[in-house]
């Protein structure tokens, strides 16, 4: 299985723990990831707010690079990248005028975008290409007793996801169960985290973060698991602002890939767990203390 890996800007920046944990996990599963050479920013939500045609040109350069480099499916772990690359593909299919603009741009530099290279999310690849059985076989330190609230956020399931349900996605739930974790059922798994509003309009953004943290905590979660660098940053990085407005709701937020690494028994230093503001600590080797045995038992064993 070979994929063109499209990290996106965040996975090289604020969200580097996602890349740092995803790559060893995928390698452990035998997935061949080749980073797309000289990839550019997908444009995210901001670029298409300014110029949609140029946003499509920008994103399609990545599609064209993947086509040139062997036409392997693109693996896009960041939700915004995943959405934008898929959205661009839809536009190229549906709107001939947009296609003409993009073709003109690609033509000018001797590239093309014709082979409809698939854009896939790691959850999709893990569940549908690798399969839960293969994943279970790699679990050496099951996450027994760890209560995880799976948080999908918006952009991997709406509106272009093909691999999971829009209203009640379950791929991450099933993955976490395969790792031995206890999955918390909660109704906010696809509610928006606020995106960049935490920085631009804190009044709105912090409230959205608080709602998610509070609900997960109320339902007994030990941590939130995310699939998106911006969701992770929002849910992890704004605890002091949340505390000021609403009181403490301390809850760590980790990438699903970090939990996979823990369950696979990969060394902590390979999983970038120290990159979060709210530390996540969990050791499979520390089960609840066993009740003290009466001394008599020892003599029986002897």
């Amino acid at each position: 299985m070979k994929y063109s890996y499209f990290p996106g800007c965040s996975l090289k920046g604020l969200g580097r723990a996602y890349e740092e944990s995803l790559l060893p996990v995928m390698k452990h599963l035998g997935v061949d990831l080749q980073e797309l050479d000289d990839w550019n920013c997908c444009g995210a939500t901001a670029y298409m707010s300014v110029d949609e045609a140029k946003a499509c040109v920008l994103a399609s350069r990545n599609l064209a690079l993947a086509e040139r480099d062997g036409n392997h499916p693109i693996l896009a772990p960041c939700s915004a990248c995943y959405l934008v690359l898929n959205k661009t593909k839809h536009y190229l299919h549906q709107y001939p005028k947009m296609k003409a603009t993009v073709d003109r741009a690609l033509n000018a530099v001797g590239m093309k975008c014709e082979k409809d290279v698939p854009v896939r999310h790691p959850l999709d690849v893990l569940i549908n290409d690798i399969g839960l059985d293969a994943i279970k076989m790699k679990v050496t330190k099951p996450l027994q007793g760890l209560k995880v609230a799976p948080y999908y956020g918006c952009q991997i399931v709406r509106p272009y996801a093909t691999f999971d349900d829009q209203a009640n996605p379950t791929t991450m739930d099933r993955l976490l169960e395969a790792l031995g974790a206890t999955v918390i059922r909660w109704p906010l798994k696809t509610k928006c985290c606020g995106g960049s509003l935490t920085g631009t309009i804190p009044e709105a953004g912090i409230r959205m973060v608080y709602i998610l943290l509070n609900e997960a905590k109320k339902r007994g979660a030990d941590c939130l698991a995310t699939v998106c660098p911006l969701c992770q940053f929002n849910l992890d990085g704004y605890h002091s602002a949340v505390r000021r407005q609403y009181g403490d709701v301390l809850l760590p937020t980790v990438y699903f890939s970090q939990l996979m690494g823990l369950a696979f028994g990969l060394p902590d230093r390979d999983l970038a767990l120290n990159r979060a503001a709210i530390p996540f600590r969990w050791r499979p080797s520390s089960p609840p203390p066993a009740p003290a045995k009466p001394p008599a038992a020892k003599s029986v064993a002897a």
Binding site: C9, C41, L106
Partner: protein
Amino acid sequence: MNITRTIKYEADRVKGFGDEVMKVPGCEKLKDCIQCGTCSGVCPLSVYMDYTPRQVMELTRFDFKKEVLSSKTIWLCASCYACTCECPREIRITDIMYELKQRAIHEGVYPRKFPIPVLAQEFEKMVTANGRISEMPLVMKLFMKTDPLGAMGNWQMGLDLMKTGRFSLASEKINNREQLAKMFAAAEEKA
């Protein structure tokens, strides 16, 4: 005492604006809107908006250009696509919001000092020039332009980022920036 008229007049309309928007690929279905309000109901940000998404749909369709283009609503939309997925008339509300944002920027009528359109434009500039985003420099630019003192309030976050090795002022760039520039230039030529 200052009073404002809250009811809109026919004369406030910019005739043809709605039709123009509804001709844009992806925005055609706006004509089918039944004003059910599902979009406003599922929107996690409608509580902060000056016009709800339902109102923006109606105002756009009936040519109230000034109202929608200078609204905060279109910028508060965080692109979570909940409305687009739930709309019973399959109107691509998120994409209509994008169309309105672009027009607001193009005409320079977005609300001044409102950070979101400033961020969008700084983001666009940086990516157009470098091909990639450098998160810290982008955030700093945003603060400089909108709330220079507000940046100080975020010292705790800066400290957290330094402690966890995520604070970087490096400027990220693709190698083939020339190629990207050529592509943008070709895209802007008339067909």
